[in-house]
Symmetry: C2
Subunit: 349 residues, 2 copies
DNA sequence: GTGAAAGCGCTAACAA
DNA sequence: TTGTTAGCGCTTTCAC
C-alpha cells in the first residue's frame, strides 16, 4: 500500500506517468516540458503544461531530489541558551526571520526552521549531512564562535548573523556594531551628555563591539570612562530589569543611557518614568535595532537602525555563493542613527 | 556527475551500501539494523550501528521518503496581508512559532516555515500536495475563514490558530476569546471603571469574540454600551497609533481601555503618558496576550494571558490526529487574567 | 523533437 | 536471522 490509510478511496496523486499517458507522450517529455526545456516543441510543451495544471499536478520532491541529488531547502537555526534563557523573544529576531523567509522564497528556497540548544550546535551539522538542507543560516552568534568555526571546517555552507571576529572561518553578516556604538555615543555627547551609562552584555561579540564604539567616542571627545557606568545586563529579561533597578538604586551619577538593544532601552525608560524622571529632559536614551516598538514607545526612541531587509538578502546571497563553492567575504552592513524624542530638546549645561 | 562540483575530491557521502560492504551484510540488514528492527540479531545490530556512527553516516531523506511515501515535516504558515501590512511583527507570533518549533521537535517533526500572501492561501495547498509536508499549521486566521474551509475540504491536514467559527470545516485551536474579553472588562468594571474604550479590529474573528465578551460584561453590569468607545484599530501599526491619537483628540469621556492586544495597550499607555495622564490613576488599561513586554512596560500591564506553550502542543496534537485520519475537535484554551499595575490602586468614585 | 532505459538510495515483501 | 529483489517518481544520457 502506498499512501497513508487516510481514506478508502485512496486517490493516488497524479504523477508524470498519468500526464504522459493522457498526452500520449513519454514521461521524459513531460519532465522536460514541465521544466520548460527548449528541446520540446513549444506546442507540445504548452499542451503538457496546460494538462498538468488542469490535473492539479504537483511534483514529488522526494523523487526529484533523490534523482537530481539536489534540493532547495535552507535551514535557519536559532540557537537558544537554556541557562541564560536567551530565547528568541526579541522582536528583532522575528523581523530577521521574516526577512529571511522573504529572501529565501524569492530565490526559490524553502525554509526549515530549527531551534537548537546552543550547547549542541553540532546538531545543525546533521541537518546538512542528512541532505535535508543545502545550507544553513544561523541567527545569533552568541558566544559560540569556536563551535561555529568547527562547523565551517566541516565544510558546511554556513552563514551567521553576528559580528565579524578575528580568526573567523565562517561567513558572517552583521551590522557595523563598532560604528553603531560610536554614533550612538557621539550623538549623546553632542546633546551635551557627559556621563553615559552603557547597558549590555559585553560577553556577546556584537555588544562588545558596540561598547568599543562607545569607548572610542569617549576618547575622541576626551571624556573619561567610568566602570560604574557599564552595566552588564543580558538581553532583555527579568534579570536585566533587576540589574537596571539596582543600578538606579545606587544613585550613580549619569545623564544618559546607551542600551545595546531597544528592548533594554524601552525598559530603562519605563523604569525612569516610574521614578518620575523624564526622558529626554533628565536623561537621554539611545537604543539599538530600531524595532517597531522603538517608534511606538514613549517617548519615541532614538536608536541605531539595523536594516533587517538588507540583512536577509545579504545572508542568502552569501549562502548561495558558499553553496556554489565560493568563498564569500563576511559582510558588515551600514547602520544609521534614527533620531527621535528620547534624545531631543536637550539643553547644553 | 552526482554531487555539486564543490571540491575536486568529491568525497561521496557514505551510504548504506558502504556500511553493508564493510560489515559484510546486505543493505537490507543495514536498513533494518539502523531502524532498530528486532528481526536483526542484537550483536549484528549493534555492530552496524557502531559502524554507521564511526563512518558518520547520515541517511538520505529523499530516498527514504520516496520509498516509504512518508515524511516528517510540518509546514507552518504565517499569512501576511499586503494591504493592511499585518505582517508578523507581533511578538506574540514569535512566541507561538517558538512554541511550535519545540512541540514539533518533541514529536520528531521538522518545521518548514512559510510566509504566504493571504490573498493566495491556496498556495499552502501546494506544500501538502507536493509531498513536502505532512500537514499544515497556520498561524493567524485573519479574515480568511472561507479560504481555510476550502483547504480543509481538499482534505489537507490543517490546523489553524484562531477563533472557532460557525460552519467551520477546519480544526482550530485558540484561546477563549469571549471569556477573555469578558474577564478583562469585568475586571475593569470591578475597579470602578464605567466608560471603557475598546481598541481592536472587530473584523478579525478573534477580536470580534473579545468584543462580544466586552459587550456581555456590560450587560451583566447593566452598563450602557457606547459606539464612540469602540475604536476599530488594526493590530499594532502606525495606523493604529494614528487612530488612537484621533480618539484622544476627540476628548471622548472614558476612564479605561481594553485593548485587543498588548501592543495596542502599551501604545495607548505611552500616548496617555505623553499627555501627562497617569495609568492607572486616570485610566485603567487591560491588554491581551501577555507578551514579555507586558510585564516590562510601565506601568506593568494587566492582561489576558494566552498560554503559548500549551497552544503549540495542542496544535501539534490536533494535527497528528488529522494526519492519522481522525477528526479532532477544535479546541478552546483557557485564559487567565494577570493583574499588574495598570489596573491597580484604583479608587472607586 | 522525442522516447527508452537506467538508476538516484532506500525499504519491505517474500524467500531462504 | 538474513538476503534477494522489486520498485518509490523522477531526470537524463543516449539513441533514433
Amino acid at each position: 500500500m502506498t499512501g497513508t490509510t487516510t481514506s478508502k478511496i485512496d486517490t493516488k496523486r497524479t504523477q508524470m506517468a498519468d500526464i504522459a499517458r493522457l498526452a500520449g507522450v513519454s514521461t521524459a517529455t513531460v519532465s522536460r516540458a514541465l521544466n520548460g526545456s527548449v528541446l520540446i516543441k513549444q506546442e507540445t510543451r504548452e499542451r503538457i503544461q496546460e494538462l498538468a495544471r488542469s490535473l492539479n499536478y504537483a511534483i514529488n520532491f522526494s523523487a526529484k531530489n533523490l534523482r537530481s541529488g539536489d534540493n532547495r531547502t535552507i535551514g535557519v537555526v536559532i540557537p537558544y541558551d537554556i541557562n541564560t534563557r536567551q530565547h528568541i523573544s526579541d522582536p528583532f529576531f522575528l523581523g530577521m526571520l521574516g526577512s529571511l523567509a522573504d529572501a529565501l522564497t524569492d530565490q526559490g528556497y524553502d525554509l526549515l526552521l530549527s531551534r537548537v540548544d546552543a550547547q549542541h550546535l553540532d546538531e545543525v551539522a546533521k541537518l546538512y549531512e542528512t541532505g535535508r538542507v543545502k545550507g544553513i543560516i544561523l541567527i545569533g552568534q552568541w558566544r559560540h564562535h569556536d563551535q561555529l568555526n568547527e562547523l565551517a571546517m566541516r565544510r558546511i555552507p554556513l552563514v551567521v548573523w553576528g559580528a565579524q571576529l578575528p580568526g573567523q572561518m565562517y561567513c558572517s553578516v552583521g551590522s557595523d556594531n563598532r560604528m553603531g556604538g560610536q554614533m550612538a555615543t557621539e550623538h549623546l555627547i553632542q546633546k551635551g551628555c557627559k556621563r553615559i551609562a552603557f547597558f549590555g552584555d559585553v560577553n556577546l561579540p556584537e555588544v562588545a563591539q558596540r561598547y568599543e564604539g562607545y569607548v572610542l567616542a569617549h576618547h575622541h571627545a576626551k571624556l573619561p570612562l567610568e566602570e560604574a557606568l557599564r552595566v552588564a545586563t543580558p538581553f532583555a529579561s527579568d534579570l536585566a530589569q533587576k540589574m537596571m533597578i539596582e543600578f538606579l538604586d545606587q544613585t550613580i551619577l549619569f545623564d544618559a543611557v546607551f542600551a545595546a538593544s531597544d528592548l533594554l532601552a524601552i525598559s530603562i525608560m519605563g523604569l525612569l518614568a516610574a521614578r518620575g524622571l523624564d526622558v529626554p529632559r533628565d536623561y537621554c536614551v539611545v537604543g539599538y535595532d530600531d524595532v517597531d516598538a522603538a517608534s511606538h514607545c514613549h517617548p519615541p526612541l532614538t536608536t541605531i537602525r539595523q536594516s533587517v531587509d538588507v540583512a536577509g538578502t545579504q545572508m542568502v546571497d552569501c549562502l548561495e555563493q558558499l553553496i556554489a563553492g565560493g568563498r564569500p567575504e563576511s559582510r558588515v552592513l551600514k547602520i544609521a542613527l534614527t533620531e527621535r524624542q528620547s534624545t531631543r530638546q536637550r539643553k547644553f549645561r
